[in-house]
Amino acid sequence: MPFANGDRELLAFPQKRALIVMTPRPPQLETPFAVFDDGVLTPNDAFFVRWHLAGIPQSIDASTHRIVVNGAVQRELTLSLRDLAAMPAVEIVAVNECSGNSRAFFHPRVPGGQWGNGAMGNARWTGVRVRDILDRAGLLPNAKQVQFRGLDEPVEPPTPAFRKSLDVDVARGDDVIVAYLMNGQPMPLLNGFPVRLVVAGWYATYWVKMLSKITVLDHVDDNFWMKTAYRIPDTPNAGVAPGSTGFATVPINKLAVRSFVTSLTDGAAINAGPAVLRGIAFDGGSGIRSVEVSADGGASWRRATLEQDYGKYSFRRWTFQWNAAPGAYVLAVRATSNDGSTQNATPIWNAGGYMRNVIETYKVTVS
């Protein structure tokens, strides 16, 4: 990988093709970027993997798996996968992006999982709305947040178990589902078999894998993974000056708008003449309004053509006809979403290494 200490092994973990191994334990596997040029949906066996804690069950019986719904509810529930399958099914194509995707490109560098740009993927998720489950349980009037927990456990008992919470109104959104299929198939165990939470438009930290418990809280969750970890500066674009302190923080939430070229890599050499550039763009759920490409490092921009729309949470593929004359170029790509947010040429910085969404550039030699 193109950064200090970026040596990585490629290895196929169970149910996975060869992926970039960031850490074997807990498994953290990055998708090789070339995969994103293959199609708008990321294949299950190529989808990135990120676990926080190494106590991961390696055998799960979906037939006996249960999701317990408890806390500030009128009726506690214990749901099997058959119960879920009997409820109205929802299908959403949505990007799952790690909060720290691209962290290794932060300058100054920050500690943490040193991802390149491949800690993301786009899949068709099938499942049941959390709202439908909560309605079946019946929320009590004091319900404030909904906490989600999976089967993974800490190695050492003092380590805080991984739990994530959403405000009740967010959890009741149309596009928050308990998914049991990923691209029409049971998901790989490392992606959360047999069920995971999908919070379309929000960072992957909330997409709790191997979901086993939904607890309605009468307070704002103060567990480590909400109160301390995954906090971003409460500033525009979540950026602060390196080393600064004294700013307020909030839990990370919606995806920042991003775009990438997928048909070539930085440093590519191509032949002169008509060329078709391809890439992807996505945002936190308003949908992509436009993608622009620059062949002069961002001085001038021309619109790319948006390809088929798989929904506002999906990767949007784009193409750009480029009549390349011999020379050295810096290509740049910039997306603008329907809510007006766009990408900047100057990268943001924060100590967590979250939400990078700088305009990506690619040096290209044409001859």
């Binding site: 200490n5 074997p24 979906a62 996968l81 500690p111 099938t126 050492e156 008992p157 047999p194």
Partner: protein, 109 residues
């Protein structure tokens, strides 16, 4: 292109037929065996043994090796986080040894 298409179609149908019916929730058991002994080992040096003993209880040494070069203050903060936040039971003297080792082998001045 054509041959790979022909190759994949029967496989896809086979997997679908065994595991589930379209648009229904999965049933049955999935078992995997995560690989062991993968990735780098700690670089040799004073303190490598302590790092191997305490750090790898919860995570592989790769988590150290992938970090950008951190200075002594940053490595000390990481070790403190492991002890205070994640509850790693590392005695004081071993923690000091590990900070010195990480700064020397994986750090910068």
């Amino acid at each position: 292109m054509r041959s790979s298409w022909l190759f994949f179609v029967p496989l896809a149908f086979a997997a679908a037929g065994i595991a589930f019916a379209e648009n229904s929730a999965p049933q049955g058991t999935t078992t995997i065996a995560l690989p062991t002994g993968v990735g780098p080992t700690f670089k040799p040096g004073p303190g490598a043994k302590a790092a191997g003993k305490y750090c790898t209880t919860c995570h592989s040494s790769a988590y150290v090796a992938i970090q950008p070069p951190l200075n002594a203050t940053q490595w000390a903060a990481e070790v403190t986080k492991m002890r205070k936040v994640y509850g790693a039971s590392i005695p004081d003297d071993a923690a000091a040894t590990i900070v010195q080792y990480l700064t020397t082998e994986y750090g910068k001045p």
